[in-house]
């Protein structure tokens, strides 16, 4: 478990991280989401005791990083894949890391096997591709079989196969009960990887919530509806005070109506009451990108406590009343959130 309390980092007059408090729980993959320059890496370096906070504290299982005896056995970190001397072999790199925390030398071969680098263990790390370097970084993090793992932008620059591998890997680590904290600015990636999200913008906490709840509360929920009598349908919906938009026929399918801030139940019942035939009735969810830009764009308005008032939250989608810390269990997402047509269930 990682607990940050009022974590602040100033560089001269610039405030990189501003009074950040959050908790990362074990047994889940927690995403650390924010645009470039939001302070994610600085926060991670402070967690690991590499940078000294200007104010506040961060503890791992109740202790500061610098208080840990043999820290590699408790915390594994991949902050940058290239933290390796280019002329040193992968095995030598792992060997000295292992020796520093009295980790048996045979563990080096084990982690090389886990990340699939056994074949190139004797090669100089400078010649590694980004994907291989990333795997070596993960091997370093796993060396001490730690209960807490931190990854900073682990999928940056990886090919789809590598991304899939890392994603599954992190899920497996979390399923083993470890604390997994992953930063990214790739929102769609976080939607697939993380069950919990800590969202920051300009060094401040925007939200700590489950991924699903984050999308629910932040993105616009609309209902797509289509039937043979579109004009009448339009009139009925307008008559109920709903915002309706016409979608002309196109790549997305035949012409339809988009109803904002409603639910399939509401639209379906309205149509049924007046005897209208429907050919399509589907909830559409906005993408994480939309949610994210919406939130970070108005960073001043939307800090942690103000989220309950998010105007576009859909009441029918079951958004919790206090969304900053939702408590109910939420299903893990297994499908990609399409950039434009999110949860379209046609």
């Amino acid at each position: 478990m990682i607990e940050a309390q009022g974590l602040t980092k100033r560089y001269g007059r610039t405030v990189a991280v501003n009074d950040l408090s959050f908790t990362v729980q074990p047994g889940k993959v927690t995403g650390f989401l924010g645009p470039n320059g939001a302070g994610k890496s600085t926060t991670m370096r402070m967690i690991l005791g590499l940078d000294n906070p200007s104010a506040g504290t961060v503890r791992i299982d109740g202790r500061r990083y610098s208080e840990l005896k043999q820290p590699l056995r408790q915390v594994g970190a991949l902050l940058e894949a290239k933290w390796v001397h280019p002329n040193r072999s992968a095995r030598s790199h792992l060997r000295w890391m292992a020796a520093s925390n009295r980790i048996p030398a045979k563990r080096v071969d084990e982690v090389l096997e886990i990340v699939g680098l056994t074949g190139v263990a004797g090669k100089r790390a400078g010649g590694f591709s980004l994907g291989m370097a990333q795997r070596l970084g993960i091997a370093t993090a796993l060396l001490g079989d730690p209960g807490v793992l931190l990854f900073d932008e682990p999928v940056n620059g990886l090919d789809p196969e590598g991304i899939l591998w890392i994603r599954r890997f992190m899920h497996r680590l979390a399923d083993e009960g470890r604390t997994v904290f992953v930063s990214s600015h790739l929102l769609s990636e976080m939607a697939l990887t993380a069950q919990e999200l800590i969202v920051i913008g300009r060094g401040r906490l925007i939200a700590q919530t489950s991924t699903r709840a984050f999308i629910d509360m932040a993105s616009e929920s609309t209902v797509r509806v289509r039937g043979p009598e579109m004009d009448r349908l339009h009139g009925v919906l307008i008559g109920q005070g709903l915002a309706v938009r016409d979608v002309p026929a196109g790549d997305d399918g035949p012409a339809a109506l988009l109803v904002s801030n409603s639910s399939t139940e509401q639209v379906g019942e309205l149509a049924g009451r007046v005897g209208l035939v429907l050919h399509e009735l589907a909830a559409q969810r906005g993408s994480l990108e939309q949610a994210f830009i919406q939130l970070t764009g108005g960073e001043v308005e939307y800090h942690a406590g103000a989220l309950a008032g998010t105007p576009n939250g859909s009441p029918a989608a079951g958004t919790p009343a206090a969304p900053a810390q939702p408590t109910g269990p939420l299903p893990r997402r297994t499908e990609a959130v399409d950039a434009t047509r999110g949860g379209d269930a046609r």
Partner: protein, 253 residues
Amino acid sequence: MTLLTVERIKLFSTRSPWWCMILATALTVGLTSIFAATTKPADLPTFTPSVTQFAFSFGLVVMMVMATLAVTTEYRFSTIRSTFLAVPTRTPALVAKAVVVALLAGIVGEITAVGSWGIAKLIQPDAPLGIDTAQEYRNVFGVGLIYLLSAVLALAVGLIVRQSAGAVVIELVYLLLLENLLPAIPRIGDHIQHWLPYTVGNNFIVAGQPETDDGPPAIEGMPFGPWGSLVYYAAVCVGLFVIGLVLAKRRDA
């Protein structure tokens, strides 16, 4: 002990330390052998053990570069962060590095010193190259101690500057230019010279040696005797290293 092993693995798992060690030895011993081979028979009576060490600064500079790189490459490739992740209190790791690097430099120093003396003896068996007096012992075997301490100094500069080129330039400019130019200042130059660390360190090797034409020059009127000079030089090197430690602990990695 563990951390010494770690630093040993780190140092010897890249190739540049090996090259530095070979270069330091080859340069020094090679120059001495040329010197010995070209010495005129008339000069043989003054070809003493101290003269065989005239080139020790060459190897010394190379080993100082190695010591500097041992820490600056860690910053260059961010492995210093991995080091500090493994040893978050930082100081023990850096002290271990200093011990390993300094010991290695000391050993290389002794090898170059004994190698230089040995090759001179081989080439000029008739020269008075016997090592008998305490001063002659210091002349040859003292070189290793200066290598050892200078490595600590170089490591400290690397730790403070954190950049290979910058640190090496500072060391070379200081060693080769500043310590030679400052004494040229009228009136106060001589007094300054007597307290310049490297000059004082050298005094440990050369103090009390007979006036010869070719050995490293001995300077008159030094404030300390040989061992006092060594302690003074050691204090400067270790002092600078402590400053480096404090900075490394305080600064963000």
